[in-house]
Symmetry: C2
Subunit: 211 residues, 2 copies
Amino acid sequence: MGIAERKEREKEQRRNDIIDAAEKIFFSKGTENATMDEIALEAELSKGTLYLYFKSKEELLFAVNLRATRILKSLFENAVSPGKKAVENLLEIGRAYVRFSREYHDYFKTLLHFEGNENFLPKEDLHKKICEECVDPMIFLMDTLRTGVKDGSIRTDIPPEILAHCLWSQTTGILKLTKAIDFHTDLKPFSEDDIINAHLEIVYHGILKNN
Amino acid sequence: MGIAERKEREKEQRRNDIIDAAEKIFFSKGTENATMDEIALEAELSKGTLYLYFKSKEELLFAVNLRATRILKSLFENAVSPGKKAVENLLEIGRAYVRFSREYHDYFKTLLHFEGNENFLPKEDLHKKICEECVDPMIFLMDTLRTGVKDGSIRTDIPPEILAHCLWSQTTGILKLTKAIDFHTDLKPFSEDDIINAHLEIVYHGILKNN
DNA sequence: TATATTTGCTGACTATTAGTCATTTTTTAT
DNA sequence: ATAAAAAATGACTAATAGTCAGCAAATATA
């Protein structure tokens, strides 16, 4: 049955077109100010159709978030080198996250929107599955930490699962702040980079194997 | 002129009554779902009056945020002991922040709403002044770190100003996550406390003076 | 090809709610 | 007692997320 398959593809295509349009509006006007009417206009579809593909504005934003996650994951994967010690790779992952927050700043903001958002609970199975993909970057972090336990470069008194959560949240917190701190610019005699480098230094020392 | 003074007091009183009502509604329904009509009803005032005292719903929420900041500041102040080394006091400040996020959870959520919110820029002088008060907890952190530089318990290669920003953001990030992680409860074989303790451990080691 | 059926799309409509402002009520001054 | 000033009101507007009855296009059937 070629028709069914073609229809499936077309549906997927339309879905992506809608996400493209939404992304454009979300990123240009800001998540808050973007309206579904504008997105519909940009997608050259009626508003009703948007709701055939996505339950709500929030879910549309979540689709963008998924793209963000995938980009971040691939940045993480490209940041590590098999030959290096895990601690060094972790530092590279950290730097990759910093790059992500700058080079994909709009995606990063979307990520922050969902980070620790208790209003967005995955109820349906589909949703659950999608949400699982969102923790992929942290899973990758976890795996690297496990390698670090094996190669002896990471402290072993804290389980890699917990360490991963810590590093992820600490770094997200730091990046969120440095994004906002510009507005107090007259109060700070130091740069974003100063804070980020200090952060990386602190956690580097904090997770290093004591000897 | 006793009348002018009394009027001033009454105005201040009314302002506080409105904040009380707003807090009640914000905390019970959630910031997002709370409506100005409900708050007006709770305050036994008309909606128009609310707007005589506060420019917007957001500004009303900000008034609640100010209360949150003051509570947190006082918790920080009570956490430190003059006799102790600064590193130990910093650990106590960290624990005080953890307590705050639990015992004043609604206030903590309000704090998070404004933490690194680039949409809320202080324009007027009054606003600027209020915003300054919001960094008081971090200023206190900074002062404690400066003490630590003097008493030799804190590393000196990173300026206290930067260290303070790091500790604040890292810990806020951690607390935000642990608040949200409950929803993935089946995936984690560890508790909130495990993550928080690990975090405190990591930064403790990270800011300690190397010898 | 003509007709029926299914699938996809539409946009006018509803409901909700933040914020406004002309009017009324209350308080103070004369 | 009256005028002026200050405070409060609530009906109204504007904006927008989400709905749904009906229309259009694509596909299946005869």
